[in-house]
Symmetry: C2
């Protein structure tokens, strides 16, 4: 743990809260007391703990509404699951040691920038949660739940005073229900997870080339022809909006246009720009009928979704479909539109007027930003922080998604260190204020309803912390320590991310407890970014039941082994770490003999035979390197070179998987001296 | 695996189905092909397999109704989860290789003894499921789902012909929602599990002394005062009845009377026999007002529950409450009722008339059987097979529950070997036919909504097989082999029995992956029968979050170790088994040092310190014994005796847990020779 980072954090606390007296340094024990995510803006730790037992009581004071009552009941349900103490019924009747004081109501429809602050004061005998409105209460209750842990005295929360509010007002998760239908129960439990880590925008995308997944009563052939029978009814949408509102979460719908829209054309071929609508992904932006249709559709959806923001997509338009169509070329000439990009600008301007006509603010991806784009449009950037900064300079508000694409199998650390204000040193305070926050994006090209939880969680908790907590928080090691605990706690919210891998390994192998397959699975990852699609063809009906679908995007074991390898190489490892490295390497070396017979039995595991062999050989090389380093033995340059080459090859994808320990073993070999 | 038992099974198959040519013996490979529960009445195995891939198609032919369509969709959902292949949408559109032929409808309300037979024929290219009615289809679809496994070619089912029907018409699971409220979602997923193993009666018990958990519109103070706010609305009851009917399951309600009824008296104290209703558990059987109330109540419930059977409990009446009440004594004298038992008979006779008046058949526990009990009353026996046989001899139909009490932490083998016709050799065929079947009973005295799945499953699958499959099936080893596979498959139905232990261990320890605690947990069990209640006080608000709540009722590891110990002692163990025993013993011996620091950190694990130490010492003794046996070394009689005494003591409950490997180590020590 870097002490300078800790000191930086403490410094921030002191700076931010002069009235609070803070410890001069944060010791490991104190860190473990607040193993929560996102970290609050300010924490003051005291002495002792508040015990939670069957006598626990809670009461709501001040402003009252049914949402607060439901929040209280949900809090008690979760607290009961966290402790195993049956509180869900009794805690409302017991004499209250936990009082919640709410000053007044929230807005009827949750607003961007609405107050989410709260004050939580825990003594050994009482808990006080104070907030200006129900949203702050919802946030504070989650902080309390995350503080719960077991001690020698029982389940308890530490004595702390928390003053908390978010850094950014827009902290979102996009779930792409356009590419694949995501079930209502999956949406709900992920909203529960969002509440746990204080995210406040559910960006719900409904359509893509492949399918159209929401009910239109005005244009029923959209879902009738475009959904394959699986779509959200308007009643279900309203149910989810209410469910999200209960959790302090806005629902921003996205209807991506004018491209990614093949599925619309199945029911309404007249919208398409191409001759063959089934081959066309772009709407025809030259026909008045297109705008008439969209005015009707947007009107219907603007009424269904109460949020003030309305996302019309606009990304990745294949403008060649327009530029090569003689009729559209003719239109562009007649209107002095110079190219496809400008034609999208023409389309966007018309759509923006329709959206604004329904008193909504339009949001769109980078591409909607053209020279004439209305200044109140919010730009969501998938291109990067530069693009966001550029928009802010031009007077646009923006939300960052580049760096938060959780479908691309990057590490929690990578996401964590991306800051919406990271590259904006040159911006004025006014320009910085236009950066509203960020959104983790769960694109569903290669994810199913079954494994989506393990793509979203726990890494999204790290993004949530980036968007809520002080910018100075950059301690990756501490983040991972807390992430492990928070990840386990997210299970109390029904999330299945920690269960999925084992279940899928059992299915792949046909074995109720395939131990050697688990050993292999613990050290492999799917390739990062877009490499996976290059290694296997994925259609909407490709079964996602291989090992690269089953394992989490990030191998904890490989990360931990890599930390130890780095300490060994730098001469900082202690005897326990040497021993841990050796035990792991022995396990991996000997695993292949046990695993191969299992792999041969199943269609889904046969392809793993060379990966398992590689792991064994990598571990063997690792054991030799470990011995050489330990004994300061020198090896021949030739052998060293051959080993490094083998390790580099083993670090390349095999069976759509990366063997994550190969680079760490390479570190060990690189550190070995030669004769 | 006992060959004689296998031969017996095959013999049965030959006997039962002369038209089928059967293999002369069942090899291990063939056994693995039909790793299903309950085993069908007749199976003919062929060569090859039917592959399940994205081209899988299914069609319903013949009689059609919406229940069949829902069964088809549920089948596809489960098959998709079993394989990871997205079939839930496409399989209905693909060209069908699986055709389901239904001859006609089922009864409007499912009847006892209604035909549940089906014929399933699987070739390498086609599947045919034929049944007289939708219930048979529902049964056959589950057989197909259980046959699915992964092979080197893909997911497939083996080529087989199955002719199947149940041995007993009444195959039930009782869930006691009287003692504790069991949530709707828990009830539903257990109904899914019942469907998977072809159980057909959900015996739903609603009230006990502690609470009254169903809505009465006629007597709303029953749930108003007796439920603590948690009860099933009549709409929810109807929803569950429909859910069960979809799965071929009858719902038999139980309202236990005249005793176990304290909760009724909270709203209606006039029903009580004692002076202080809150101290009384028995209704007053002497007042006309009691019968007037019950006539109204039973009428309301008889209309709510469509099943032909209506359970009025009647067990464990504390008749002293009557025999010591002067007013009731007076009534007994006046009516020549000799004792409390006879007074219960008087009550039962009156209730039976009320029930019969609603065209329902009364069911009750053993105690309702008196000399004058109406012959159509069905007796549910918790006392034993003798009691059931006696009832059958007296002309009563009966259902066995003794031996199937899954709350008592007995082994699957114990339950499996209890047969409803086990002690009935002396009965005539007509008398035997009165034994309708059996019911697993999930009493909820010491179980919560959280851990109920791991008490019910997988052991209930063994009971389900006893009630469905040929009586000759007695091969316990094979049962356990299949149970492991079926247990894993029950996860596809949403059951949480395999997840609960780890989740609870994480909570107890506060550690996201408490490996040494898992090692200990794998070899302990809660004490059997009623010993647990003697070791710790359990009220309705006792948190059920200790290790004895977390571990399954039966330790697989301890059972497997015991099998190896028996083989070692009998000289039949192979080198792998010797090695396995040694590895386990080393693991257990060395675990204590790793576990103790973890145990000290939590209130819930501190009490386990001596258990962990015992395991270490037991394993140490076991390792010495193993060495001595391997080397034929003799030890001193004194040492042997001291070790045996220590092992016997270690086999006694500690911290409400049994260390299950102690008796197996004792076997090893007993087998060691002395000097």
């Amino acid at each position: 743990m870097g002490n300078s980072r800790v000191a930086g954090f403490i410094g921030f606390l002191v700076l931010a809260s002069c009235t609070l007296s803070l410890p001069s340094n944060l010791r490991a024990q104190e860190k473990s007391l607040i193993a929560i995510m996102p970290l609050p803006a300010q924490v003051l730790q005291g002495e002792g703990e508040f015990l939670i037992d069957g006598g626990f009581g809670i009461a709501l004071r001040g402003y009252e509404d049914s949402r607060l009552e439901r929040a209280q009941q949900r809090f008690l349900d979760t607290l009961s699951r966290e402790t195993g103490i049956p509180l869900w019924r009794e805690a409302i009747r017991n004499s209250p040691h936990f009082t919640v004081q709410t000053s007044g109501p929230s807005a009827a429809v949750q607003q961007l920038g609405e107050d989410e602050s709260y004050h939580l004061e825990i003594s050994t005998t009482d808990v006080q949660l104070t907030a200006p409105n129900p949203i702050g209460v919802i946030r504070g209750l989650q902080t309390f739940l995350q503080l719960v842990r077991i001690t020698p005295k029982g389940f308890s929360v530490p004595v702390v005073t928390v003053d908390d509010k978010p850094r950014f007002p827009w902290r979102g998760l996009l779930i792409d229900s356009g590419h694949r239908f995501v079930s209502i129960s999956t949406v709900k439990r992920n909203l529960d997870g969002m509440e746990a880590v204080k995210l406040n925008v559910f960006h719900w995308r409904f359509a893509d080339n492949e399918s159209f997944h929401v009910e239109s009563k005005k244009f029923p052939r959209l879902q009738g022809k475009g959904s394959g029978g699986f779509y959200y009814s308007q009643d279900e949408v309203r149910e989810i909006i209410g469910y999200a509102r209960d959790r302090g979460i806005r629902v921003v719908p996205e209807f991506d246009m004018p491209c990614h829209t093949t599925s619309w054309f199945l029911g309404y071929p007249g919208l398409a720009s191409g001759q063959d609508p089934s081959q066309s992904s772009a709407m025809d932006p030259t026909r008045e009928s297109t705008y008439k249709f969209l005015a009707g559709f947007i009107g219907e959806m603007a009424a269904l979704f109460p949020d003030s923001y309305f996302h019309t997509g606009g990304d990745e338009c294949d403008v060649k479909q327009w530029e090569t169509n003689p009729r559209i070329q003719e239109f562009m000439r007649a209107h002095a539109i110079k190219d496809g990009g400008a034609l999208q600008g023409f389309f966007t301007a018309k759509i923006q007027k329709i959206v604004a006509g329904h008193k909504k603010i339009m949001e769109g991806w980078d591409e909607v930003l053209q020279s004439n784009t209305s200044k109140d449009v919010v730009i969501q950037s998938w291109r990067g922080q530069d693009s966001l900064a550029e928009a802010a300079r031009s007077g646009y508000r923006g939300v960052l998604s580049a760096g938060y694409c959780i479908d691309l199998n990057q590490s929690a650390a990578e996401h964590y260190l991306v800051d919406p204000l990271g590259d904006t040193a040159a911006l004025t305070p006014d320009q910085k204020a236009r950066v509203l926050g960020g959104e983790a994006t769960m694109w569903t090209d290669i994810v199913s309803d079954e494994n989506i939880d393990n793509r979203i969680w726990p890494r999204t908790a790290a993004i949530a912390e980036r968007l809520w907590s002080p910018q100075e928080m950059q301690d990756v090691d501490w983040m991972y320590q807390r992430l492990a605990i928070v990840s386990q706690k997210l299970g109390y919210y029904g999330l299945r991310h920690r269960l999925i891998t084992d279940e899928m390994l059992q299915r792949m192998s046909g074995d109720p407890d395939p131990v050697p397959l688990k050993v292999l699975a613990a050290v492999v990852q799917p390739p990062r970014l877009y490499e996976r699609q290059q290694l296997r063809t994925f259609t909407d009906f490709t079964p996602l039941n291989h090992l690269d679908d089953a394992v989490p995007p990030e191998s904890d074991t490989a990360r931990e082994f890599n930390e130890i390898a780095k300490r060994i190489v730098s001469g900082k490892a202690n005897p326990q770490e040497w021993q841990q490295a050796r035990q792991w390497l022995l396990l991996w070396r000997d695993n292949d003999a046990k695993l191969q017979p299992l792999l041969a039995r199943s269609y889904l595991t046969q392809e793993l035979a060379p990966v398992s062999r590689s792991l064994s050989r990598v571990a063997e090389i690792g054991l030799q390197a470990l011995d050489n380093l330990h004994e300061n033995r020198l090896i021949s340059p030739d052998l060293r070179q051959r080993n490094i080459e083998f390790l580099k090859a083993s670090g390349k994808p095999q069976a759509v998987l990366l063997l994550m320990v190969a680079p760490s073993v390479e570190l060990l070999v690189q550190a070995t001296g030669t004769k």
